[in-house]
Amino acid sequence: MAELFFWPALVGYGAYPLAGRWAVWGVRLGWLAQTALLIAQAARADGFPWSSWAGSLNLFVWLVVSAYLIWGCRARFRLLGLVVLPLAATLFVVARLGGGTSLGEHSRYSSVFLVAHVGLVLAAFAGFTLAAGLAAVYLFQERRLKRHDTAILRVPAPALETLDTLAARTIAVSLPALTLGIVVGVVRLRERGGGFDALMAFTVATWFAYGAYVALRWRYGWRGRRAAYFALASFVLVIVVRLALPVTHFS
């Protein structure tokens, strides 16, 4: 049954770069299919269904696409889709290979703390992913303007200032979510006991990186190219936290 939802969702996300004017509809249908998958997982699970690494990746992809769809329906944001959707499709495949899209996953943990911790941290990371996509599009467009690309008006894209502002706002909204997620995690860690692992360390480092972004922007006026590079550099930490260090934390 999980296959019934997985493939339409994957096709919807994966076909985005090829589907032309139907691209956004493909993503919408894909998002609906993945939503149905998540609902089915929640209905069949006897606990929090996304507590495994692969399961959380599945939820993370859904959050990224949900955040993208807030802007992605506009034609001008097609370039952002070209950055975000292939990444989402790839992570979705990884989630499936790890068993994160199967139904009836059992969880050893199920508590409001866990839901809040995972939900907030993943929502924040989804926001950072989108901000990285916006920063990447900013740098691409800025480079085209600097190099006097003659075809620049032929592909609709958001203005540089729009991209810069949206990236900053997305980070500004995501950072409090990460802060709360970390606080909830620390409280839970104190209650249950346990060590401070590498993933936790990198998550805190991620918080500092994005905190620095916000501070530099509002205190010292960092904008434009420098801010975009900073957002992309910070996103490396998100990738490390999401993909490179999860095994110990979730085991």
């Binding site: 303007l145 006097h148 620049i152 008006l153 032929r154 894209a157 203005a159 200032e161 190219r225």
Partner: protein, 406 residues
């Protein structure tokens, strides 16, 4: 009656000849009124074309004489002469911007509308211009033919929008008080930007332009300080060297500054483009952008041609249906005459008469509806005359139709 078009345009005549027959709106309206004595007439005159649309039996000869009297035999010899469907299709293409120097340019639609309003149209030209305006609007809304910039100044404004998004409230500095710079500044102002300052070597000219665009005038030596508070710079001076160098640009701290350099030789040192947050486009860069977007315009022009052809077909069908209108009118009049006559013979109460009157009217309408539709369809397919002849013969309408012809 025949629709005739006589005109010259940039496609066939050089500017030396076009300017001989170029008319301002007032004179174009006067000429239309003269041509319309016993006819219908509209005169469309822009910098690229002067076209006389006349409806009447002697329309072509009259229009050609008028053009000759304006521009001489040389102009008359180069004039194109089109009739009926060809003339209609031409006007539809003109309204859609497909016959313009830059395909899809938007100004022509307003010029066609103005010419129609100022002219002396009758039923045929009213319908023709109405349909042409509709075709022009459809071509613009259903294709992207008019979206890409058609000139370097509009390309400059479109590129500024790539940096800032909406230009509402963005501040512009104009360097140089010439016509080209003013046009570019106005193009930005049309998109919501505010011309904040005008810098010029000759203070007097700078003040004049500043007053025209609602800005303040500054000395050319003060450009550096003016740059601190603006978002876009339009420069077009006749200075032999750079007017703005890297040292003139204050640190932007993440606030973009966009330069539109229309001067030859260039006013803005290309090294400014290397500064953070600064983007410099000179005349060659802008022309290259316009050229690149022309590819899109031409592709969209093919789609617009299909729309125009569809609208021209519709007009042709309407015009053809006019041939059978007198026959249809006579048929309906004859039927109504018979109905009224028979009804008057019947001995009925008032209430009964009203009921029978209503029923017979409905019967008549239903009976004649299909023949009416079929005759109009046949007219559109060029069989209209045959059908009209048959109907006139079958119902004995010959006399009444002859009396009622257009």
């Amino acid at each position: 009656m025949k629709l005739s078009l006589v005109g010259i345009s940039h496609r066939h005549a050089p500017v030396e000849l076009r300017e001989r027959v170029a008319l301002d709106p007032e004179h174009a309206a006067d000429l239309a009124r003269v041509l319309a004595e016993g006819r219908e007439a509209v005169v469309l005159s822009t910098c690229n074309r002067t076209e006389l649309y006349v409806v009447g039996d002697d329309a072509e000869a009259v229009a050609l004489d008028a053009l000759r009297s304006l521009g001489g035999d040389e102009v008359a010899a180069l004039a194109y002469r089109l009739a009926d469907q060809a003339a209609a299709l031409h006007l539809f293409r003109v309204a859609a911007g497909l016959d313009s120097l830059v395909p899809g340019e938007g100004e022509i639609l307003g010029q066609v509308r103005d010419a129609h309003e100022a002219g002396a149209p009758g039923p045929l030209l009213n319908r023709l211009f109405h349909d042409a305006l509709h075709a022009g609007k459809r071509a613009r809304t259903q294709t992207t033919i008019g979206e890409s910039p058609a000139s370097v100044s509009s390309a400059g404004a479109a590129l500024a929008q790539q940096v800032f998004g909406e230009l509402d409230g963005r501040r512009v500095l104009v360097v140089g008080a010439g016509k080209v710079g003013e046009l570019a500044a106005r193009s930005l102002a049309a998109r919501g930007a505010v011309v904040q300052a005008v810098a010029n070597r000759t203070q007097e000219h700078g003040v004049e332009l500043a007053q025209r665009v609602g800005a303040r005038a500054v000395q050319l030596d003060d450009v550096s300080s003016a740059l601190a508070s603006v978002d876009v710079v339009v420069s077009c001076t006749s200075a032999p060297g750079f007017v703005i160098g890297t040292a003139d640009v204050p640190p932007r701290r993440g606030r973009p500054l966009f330069f539109v350099d229309l001067a030859v030789p260039r006013d803005v040192d290309p090294a400014v483009n290397e500064l953070d947050d600064c983007y410099v486009y000179d005349i060659d860069d802008l022309e290259a952008v316009v050229e690149a977007t022309l590819v899109d315009r031409r592709r969209e022009a093919e789609r617009a041609e299909a729309i125009v052809a569809e609208e021209a077909d519709r007009f042709r069908a309407w015009q053809a249906s006019l041939d059978v209108v007198p026959t249809i009118a006579s048929l309906r009049a004859r039927a109504e005459e018979i109905r009224a006559s028979e009804l008057s013979k019947a001995k009925l109460s008032d209430e009964e008469r009203r009921a029978v009157d209503s029923i017979t009217t409905q019967i008549l309408n239903k009976l004649l509806h299909l023949p009416t539709v079929r005759m109009k369809e046949a007219a559109a397919a060029a069989d209209g005359v045959l059908y009209a002849d048959a109907v006139r013969h079958l119902f004995g309408l010959e006399d009444s139709v002859q009396g009622g012809e257009r």
